[in-house]
C-alpha cells in the first residue's frame, strides 16, 4: 500500500511541478502575438532552447510512467479522483513559484473542479 501512495505522490507532485516548469519556460519566451505557422515554429524552437522546458518534460514523463504503473495495480476510479488533487497543488505552486495571484474566487473554482472530477469518476 505504501508503494501505491508513494507513486500517487509522484504522479501529483512531479506532474504539477512539470507543468509549472513548462509554464516558466513559456513565460520566459513571452506573450505570443502572431499565430502564423512559421511564427509558431519559431516560438517552439525558442521554447525548446529553455532549460525549464526540458526539466518540465522530464518531470511530466516521470509522472506519466508512474501513472501507467499505478493503473496496472489499481482501478481508474481510485486513481483519477486522487490525481485531481493536482489542481490544488497546481494553484499553490503557481502562487509560490510563479507569483500568480490566486484570489478567493479562483480557489472556489479550483475546489469545485476537484469535487466535480471526483463525482464524475464516482458516477
Amino acid at each position: 500500500m505504501i508503494r501505491i501512495w508513494l507513486l500517487l505522490g509522484v504522479v501529483v507532485l512531479a506532474g504539477t511541478a512539470g507543468e509549472i516548469a513548462v509554464t516558466r519556460a513559456m513565460k520566459r519566451i513571452g506573450e505570443v502575438h502572431h499565430f502564423h505557422p512559421r511564427a509558431l515554429l519559431r516560438v517552439l524552437g525558442r521554447a525548446f532552447r529553455v532549460g525549464w522546458m526540458w526539466l518540465g518534460l522530464g518531470l511530466l514523463a516521470m509522472a506519466f510512467f508512474s501513472l501507467l504503473a499505478l493503473l496496472s495495480w489499481e482501478n481508474v476510479s481510485f486513481v483519477v479522483p486522487i490525481t485531481a488533487l493536482s489542481y490544488v497543488v497546481g494553484a499553490l505552486m503557481a502562487k509560490l513559484f510563479l507569483g500568480e495571484e490566486v484570489n478567493q474566487m479562483r480557489w472556489m473554482g479550483v475546489l469545485l473542479v476537484v469535487l466535480g472530477v471526483v463525482l464524475v469518476c464516482a458516477g
Binding site: 513559456m26 513565460k27 513571452g30 502562487k95 469545485l112 466535480g116
Partner: protein
C-alpha cells in the same frame, strides 16, 4: 478592441481549442487502443507489444495528432495566461468527454456523473470570473 479584451478573447479561444482537441484525442486514442487489443500491463515485453499494435491503428495516430494540437495550444496559452487559470479551466474536457460519450457512443451516464459535470462547469465559471493574467512579463 482593448488590450485586455484581446487577451481575454485569445485565452478563451485557445482554452476551447485545448478542450476540444484534448477530449477528441483522448476518445480517439482510447477507441484505437481498445480496437488494437489494448496494453497488458504484465511485463515490459507485453507493454511494448501493446504499443506496437497500437501504432498500426489509424485512430491511434489521429488521436496522437489531436493531442499534439492540444499540447501546442497549451504551450501558447501559457506564454501569457496564468497556470492557475488555464489548468482548472481545461477540466471542462471532462464534461465534453462525457457529452461525446453519451451523444456519439450511446454510453449510459449516471446522475452522479452528470452532477460532477455540472459542478466542474460551475467551478470553471468561477475561474472565468478571475483575470486570466495576474503576473507581469518576465522579460
Amino acid at each position: 478592441m482593448s488590450i485586455a479584451q484581446r487577451l481575454h478573447l485569445k485565452t478563451y479561444v485557445l482554452i476551447v481549442l485545448m478542450v476540444l482537441f484534448g477530449a477528441t484525442g483522448d476518445v480517439l486514442l482510447g477507441k484505437g487502443m481498445r480496437e488494437s487489443g489494448g496494453i497488458a500491463l504484465k511485463s515490459a515485453g507485453s507493454i511494448v507489444d501493446g504499443l506496437t499494435r497500437g501504432f498500426h491503428n489509424r485512430l491511434v495516430w489521429m488521436g496522437m495528432g489531436s493531442l499534439i494540437v492540444f499540447f501546442l495550444c497549451y504551450l501558447l496559452v501559457l506564454s501569457w495566461a496564468d497556470y492557475s487559470f488555464v489548468s482548472p479551466a481545461s477540466a471542462s474536457s471532462y464534461g465534453i468527454v462525457t457529452l461525446l460519450g453519451w451523444m456519439l457512443l450511446g454510453e449510459t451516464v449516471t446522475s452522479v456523473r452528470w452532477l460532477g459535470v455540472v459542478v466542474i462547469c460551475v467551478g470553471v465559471l468561477f475561474i472565468g470570473h478571475t483575470p486570466p493574467r495576474t503576473t507581469q512579463e518576465l522579460e
